[in-house]
């Protein structure tokens, strides 16, 4: 926010901190460089209401808008199943919402009436500053450089699209793109390491050497948070009797019932029931709660399906879970089973929609494949810096198991897991790394300025952001 006509004695600088944007499948993290947490965390899911005869179709963004049951509200996500943005239109809008709603301003103010140009009636004197001039008010990023994160497998086309949005639609004065793996390593204070990011749609393993991603080493798989959610769904479906997954909005009031007894809740009635996609989003809230309070990764030393593991698990105290409609049960061995597929494909629950995962997609195999691509000399060093991030890495005991698996594959190196103890640092590692990078004095040497973009076009991103 440069003050153009400010008197000399007053502040006249134009130091504006960059904005860091870290879009993921489940949430978008956005905030100002130099801060320790992203101030804006918005859902990547957005609402869409179909055009009815009289009204227009409409996009809805943000938590407040997407959780209210409404007959024609559909919930969508702009990501493709390959981990690359599919719906660019929507992505642009959702990202913009994440930035403007909580960081900059909801509506670019109209300079003709933003008040800073005029005196007001009160004591009559006019403001001696002219804070915004007319051109400045229109685009959301007019005065903020932008650092954006991307997955390690992003396509060139997608990368060019990102810089186009930043420059053309948002008017950013400068832009830089960096891979989440590098940034997560950065957040842990490492320039080299193996970064395991267990998110919602994907798990990725990224070898980073001296701040550079070893591209051919990047591995990804769909065995992540959404996979575990589906495992839980199958567990519920395949139980005898079936466990009904009831989201909160379907319940009017619940009644206390015995464990395993059918719910006696009063349910809501809807003239027009909300859409399936809405229901799925709301079910996901229940599943996340289930993950947080019940699911546990079998820590080893043997796999869950081998030896006495399951017996041991059965004899451990179970953990209770109550559905929004009051149905409740204690979960024992099953709470391990739903996460086991992350490490052992043969242990995954399957049905007609969810085939057996591929063996090479388990987290252990991803690590192995990534390390394989690294020069043998560098392997011990990388294995001594295994950084674990992503929301699904918060699964209870996941780190224990991961350590176990890595030590089994590499018994002769000194392997070390680096998992930030704070939930916030774990969930927002890539953003935090971006925040550090974009607040460095040297950031302006990295970024692509508007002028450079205008000169060279979008393809410059391939040359400059490696």
């Amino acid at each position: 926010m440069a003050s153009t006509n400010a008197p000399a004695a007053e502040y006249a600088g134009d130091e504006v901190s960059a904005i860091v944007l870290d879009p993921g499948f489940s949430t978008i993290r956005a905030g100002f460089a130099g801060e320790d947490v992203p101030k804006s965390v918005c859902p990547s899911f957005f609402g869409y209401t179909d055009a009815e005869s009289d009204s227009k179709s409409q996009f809805l963004f943000g938590e407040n808008a997407i959780h209210t049951p409404q007959a024609n509200l559909q919930i969508k996500n702009y990501w493709g199943s390959d981990g690359i943005v599919e719906d660019w239109d929507a992505a642009t809008k959702v990202w913009e919402y994440a930035i403007t709603s909580r960081l900059t301003s909801t509506k670019p103010s109209n300079p003709l009436q933003n008040g800073l140009n005029e005196g007001s009636n009160g004591n009559g004197d006019t403001m001696d500053v002219d804070i915004e001039n007319v051109e400045q008010a229109e685009k959301p990023l007019e005065d903020s450089p932008l650092l954006m994160t991307e997955p390690g497998w992003n396509s060139s086309k997608a990368r060019e699209k990102c810089i186009e949005i930043a420059m053309e639609e948002w008017g950013a004065p400068a832009f830089y793109l960096q891979k989440t793996g590098v940034l997560a390593a950065f957040a842990s204070g490492k320039a080299s390491g193996i970064i395991i990011d267990i998110g919602a749609s994907h798990t990725s393993v990224t070898p980073v050497l001296d701040g550079m991603v070893l591209r051919k080493g990047v591995q990804k798989s769909p065995l992540a948070g959404n996979f575990v959610s589906n495992q839980i769904r199958m567990l519920f479906k395949q139980s005898q009797p079936e466990i009904p997954l009831t989201p909160h909005y379907t319940v009017k009031s619940k009644v206390q019932v015995d464990a395993g007894a059918p719910s006696q809740a009063t349910y809501k009635t809807f003239d027009l029931p909300p859409t399936d996609s809405f229901r799925r989003l709301e079910e996901e809230r229940v599943l996340t709660e289930f993950k947080e309070s019940v699911v546990e990764v079998w820590p080893g030393p043997q796999r869950f399906n081998m030896g006495p593991s399951e017996e041991i698990a059965k004899n451990q105290p179970g953990r209770p879970f109550e559905m929004p409609d009051g149905w409740n049960q204690v979960f024992t061995a099953d709470r391990f089973r739903v996460a086991e597929g992350l490490f052992d494909a043969s242990a995954a629950l399957v049905d007609s929609d969810n085939p057996r995962p591929k063996d090479e997609h388990t987290i252990s195999r991803l690590v192995q494949a990534a390390v394989q691509q690294v020069d043998a000399d560098h392997r011990p060093m990388l294995l001594g810096n295994v950084v674990v991030t992503g929301g699904s890495s918060l699964l209870y005991k996941l780190n224990e198991r991961l350590t176990q698996e890595i030590n089994t594959i590499y018994p002769s190196t000194r392997n070390k897991l680096i998992a930030p103890g704070s939930v916030v640092e774990r969930k927002y590692a890539a953003w935090i790394g971006g925040s550090i990078l974009a607040s460095l004095g040297s950031f302006h040497q990295l970024w692509i300025s508007k002028k450079e973009y205008e000169e060279h076009g979008a393809s410059i991103v391939e040359k400059r952001c490696r």
Partner: protein, 522 residues
Amino acid sequence: MPPFKDEQIIIIAPGSETTVAQLGLPESFTPAKTRVRSRMFPAEKEGEWEPYKVRRKQSAEKPTGDQNGAADGEESKNVSSEQEEIIYEEDRISEEGAVWPIREGRIVNWSCFFALITHVYNTMNPPFHTPILLITQPAWTPREHEKLTQFFFEKFKTPAFSLMDSALATSWAFGVHTATVVDVGKDKVDITAISEFVPHVQGRVISLPGCGGEALTQGLLSLLKAKGFNRDMLPNSKKQKATFIYEDHALLDNLKNMNLGEKGLAEAHAALDEGPSKKAQDGTEEEVREGGEGSGAPGAKSGGIRREIEVGVERFQAASNGTLEKIADAVHRCVSSVDEVNKRSELWDSLIVCGNGSRLRGFKDALQATLQAKYVISPSSATIFTSEIPSNISTPAGTGANTPQPQSAPHGGSSQVNPLLLAATTAQNPHLMHPGANPILQGMNSHNQHSSHGQTPTSIKLVKPPEYFPEWKEPGYDEAAFLGAQVAAKVIFVVDQGQNKGYMTRPDYNDQGPTAIHDYSL
């Protein structure tokens, strides 16, 4: 710079409906002394604003028809040059044509907003050298904070300025470091989870639309209207009784003329704990309301009188038309989005419901009842069966040699415990807080761990209002943010005097500019 004194401090808290402010901290903190409806009127000159409706008086003509009864509220003043004899009159009652610069907590018209603030400032007639504490709405973004900072320094030449989040201010008023603050405004609700004096910004519910006092009032009124309001509606059981109070600005004058008499007022009073202004018996409600809705009396639309109706909790829930459930669901979302699962229990047990939209008596109980009915995890046979599981004991999650250590942020920022707050709640300043509200030190170690936990909530409790501030008892704590702001202003401007960067000084501003405000505010 000479130190600031209590009597110099200005606090301003802008709201969508009412902006409250005060010059000077009284010995015992009081509700805000300056109250201004948050609206201005376009002046003759485009882009300028007047605090009251101003018309050019056509001296020869009679007042326009729709201004009947408003005459005694008008003041005339002569603002034109002598020769022309154009008379402008201020209509201090009419809100026709008013512009409300804050909508659902967001500043939608900056010019008008700045004019409003200037009007509030001038109303207090402050002397030189007044530091200002501005209470911010959750919907205001960091960039908007910077814009506000620039305005206050450059317009008022204030020697020191600070911002305080309204939910945080509320938690200060209640003297608790951890709370879930549900602020029910005019057309929106904000819900904020606060742990150890730090608001969780990520999952914060900001400006949930259509859930404010306005929606609740409309819901109840239409219910009453549909049923034909009468005494039979009142539930028999005393326990079930809840009272619904709303402010009726429209009928102030009518009521005055109705002459309820001593007895009527006394009776109404007996039924009330809250609501300091004039009351009327509910029996008069319908008649009163009818008059107010006609478009014939736009001149009567200010002032405001508190009206009271009693309805049962169930009826309240029905009448809220889904609003209560919507708010309850948002509270659940807010607490569930707190990343540190181990903090949620405490957040559920520290609910603060504030904001004038929550004044409808019975609302707080009805909200708590709704939350409990829908979200409390019952101590079922399953839970009892496994009660040996320590669901609230943290287990360190890290493995191997690098057991995670709680770390402070790598590079500054705002998510650390503010030393000022610590000072305010520890023995250093015992006079600032009511006694017994100092569990802050216990809670602090849990800040950075993650673990496996049982589901929450297992209970939902409202925080007891502070008992330390006699002047706040009678009006209630719905504007507790202002009380918290007074406590905070005392701490940052008078006690601490800037040692902990609790405010930005003018030299700071000149050196670092408005973006630095984030390093200073609370």
